[in-house]
């Protein structure tokens, strides 16, 4: 059973003084997220990621379409007991302490009183918020608020967790910790759906990703599949500061960095390149086929949409 099935959800806002001018925030979106996977929802700012998440959370009503979460209609309150949500740049009741906040959310999520205190201590330790007893949230830094936000999202042990830009406001160590946490959640059998525009996070974490731009889904698939398309070129790296003439003759694109040289040659010239280096008794370090990075795939998808828009204009 898929964890999330988005069946044509779309959103059009009516803008302007008389609210008569339509502005499409999300074109009909069809997306399936399998149970137990980490799914990245990628797109630049304003692409429609947060709108999609808000619709799934019941905060914004879709103009059309429907969705199923954990096999149920997404609007059913019972579904919400099984999901966790971290909004983008979360802000909480700043007059509460983290313990009070989580106790309140635990009550709303139906966490039994006898388990609540233990769960609160557990999740706070898990997100690295210790020694904060009695400190009101108004005194928390941005990073600490983000951690408190993650804690409230996983407090009630949900089966499915939605994170909207979870790395936002975190330092490199904090980002690493959140990545580790998301992997732990996956190992516990939970499904993680997160939006981001930080591609390295998505590439490191996600089983599958979807790319959205200007409210339209541009691509979806396993990260390995999207990044495995070989470009027909290989990267040859050797020790030295000079490029042999034979290598230049192959049309290699060379870059010298310190005491290593990197050259990109067509795959068909791979053997010739190796022979050229051998003849010159140069120490070969590595030969790797060039693969499309997620970033390159992402940029390609965005650029193709802009080209299409430019052509149609």
């Amino acid at each position: 059973m898929p964890a999330i099935e988005i069946l044509g959800l779309e959103k059009t806002y009516m803008v302007g003084f008389w609210r008569k001018r339509p502005k499409r925030a999300l074109l009909p979106l069809h997306l399936t997220v399998q149970d137990g996977e980490i799914f990245g929802f990628l797109g630049p700012n304003g692409a429609g990621k947060t709108t999609t998440l808000k619709m799934l959370m019941g905060l914004v009503f879709p103009t059309a379409g429907t969705a199923r979460i954990l096999g149920h209609e997404w609007t059913e309150p019972e579904v919400k007991a099984q999901i966790g949500f971290l909004p983008e740049q979360p802000y909480f009741y700043d007059y509460l302490t983290a313990h009070e906040l989580l106790n309140y959310y635990g009550q709303l999520s139906g966490v039994p009183g006898k388990d609540r205190k233990r769960r609160i201590d557990e999740v706070l330790a898990r997100v690295g918020l210790t020694d904060i007893k009695g400190v009101q949230l108004r005194k928390f830094s941005k990073g600490m608020l983000q951690r408190a936000g993650i804690a409230q999202a996983i407090l009630h042990n949900p089966k499915l967790v939605f994170f909207d830009e979870p790395m936002s406001g975190l330092d490199p160590l904090g980002r690493r910790e959140v990545r580790d946490l998301m992997e732990q959640l996956k190992h516990e059998g939970k499904t993680v759906f997160f939006s981001t525009h930080i591609l390295s996070d998505a590439e490191a974490l996600c089983d599958r990703v979807a790319i959205i731009h200007q409210g339209e889904l541009r691509g979806v698939g396993a990260v390995a599949d999207l990044t495995s398309s070989v470009q027909g070129k290989v990267e040859v790296i050797w020790q030295g500061t000079e490029v042999p003439a034979a290598m230049k003759a192959l049309g290699a694109d060379c870059h010298i960095t310190g005491d290593t040289v990197r050259a990109v040659v067509p795959e068909t010239q791979q053997d010739a390149a190796i022979d050229a280096l051998r003849r010159e008794r140069i120490r070969l370090i590595a030969i790797t086929p060039l693969r499309t990075s997620l970033e390159a795939y992402f940029v390609e998808k965005l650029q193709s949409s802009q080209t299409t828009a430019g052509t149609s204009a």
Partner: protein, 258 residues
């Protein structure tokens, strides 16, 4: 009542307390003790009247100000600060949120009124040296003041569910002022003709009738309040409050939280 409503109400009450809303009691205590001492010195035989009139009017005024200024932010502040997102993404229905917020504010006002009522009775004892049987009607006046608060809370919540805090404050305060003259408006409607009569009658019955809930002067003059008026006012206030809350829920149920 669902447990979630109670939790939301408790949190709203806690917010009010931590935002130092109950500090108004200090101002109230100072006002009333000052007035009691002053009245004891300058008035002859009307100390009770002045203390009851001033005390109950202050209870009403302080409560109305709190009801308006907290009520208008109950929903809009949660949307603006996005604290609502993590509440409504849980198994909380939107109507439960509205009703919970209402009870939280109403609870704050009842607690506030309770302490102010102690102040009124304390000041009364100071100037009159004893309680009389007619003082029991002060409790009725306080009950009507609480009914007044319920209406103002629900109206503030209604406006807060679709407009900005500033506009909500203006609307609620205007409605409170007009409602305080509801009897005069009804009198005007009775005397008017044609379209004006139709319009004035509609307005007179639409605005909350706060003048019927104001028995401060009568109680200060030791007049009795009939059981029928107590029943009528109770029914009226609860009905009006329920309708305003219903309206707030209807609007909020359809609102996109952008």
């Amino acid at each position: 009542m669902s447990a979630r409503i109670i939790h939301i109400a408790s949190n709203t009450f806690r917010e009010a307390v931590r935002d130092r809303v109950l500090y108004n009691l200090i101002a109230f205590a100072l006002l009333l003790s000052g007035a009691a001492v002053l009245v004891g010195q300058i008035s002859i035989d009307i100390e009770r009247l002045v203390v009851v009139d001033l005390g109950l009017s202050a209870v009403s005024l302080f409560g109305i100000v709190i009801a308006i200024f907290i009520g208008i932010g109950l929903v809009s502040k949660e949307i603006e600060k996005r604290t609502l997102y993590t509440v409504l993404s849980r198994p909380v229905r939107r109507w439960e949120f509205i009703v919970g917020k209402f009870f939280g504010l109403a609870g704050t006002l009842v607690v506030n009124t309770f302490f102010m009522a102690i102040g009124v009775f304390g000041a009364l004892l100071y100037v009159a040296h004893k309680f009389s049987a007619s003082d029991a009607f002060i409790l009725v006046a306080l009950y009507f003041i609480i009914l007044e608060f319920l209406i103002v809370c629900s109206v503030a919540l209604l406006f807060s569910s679709f407009s900005s805090p500033l506009l909500s404050a203006v609307f609620t305060f205007s409605l409170f002022v007009i409602g305080s003259f509801a009897e005069d408006l009804r009198g005007f409607a009775f005397m008017a003709h044609g379209f004006t009569r139709w319009l004035a009658t509609g307005a007179a019955y639409l605005v909350p009738n706060f003048s019927a809930l104001n028995v401060i002067s009568a109680v200060a003059h030791e007049q009795h309040v009939s059981a029928q008026l107590i029943l009528q006012n109770s029914f009226y206030a609860l009905f009006y409050t329920a309708m305003a809350l219903f309206g707030a829920v209807l609007i909020f149920e359809r609102r996109n939280l952008k």
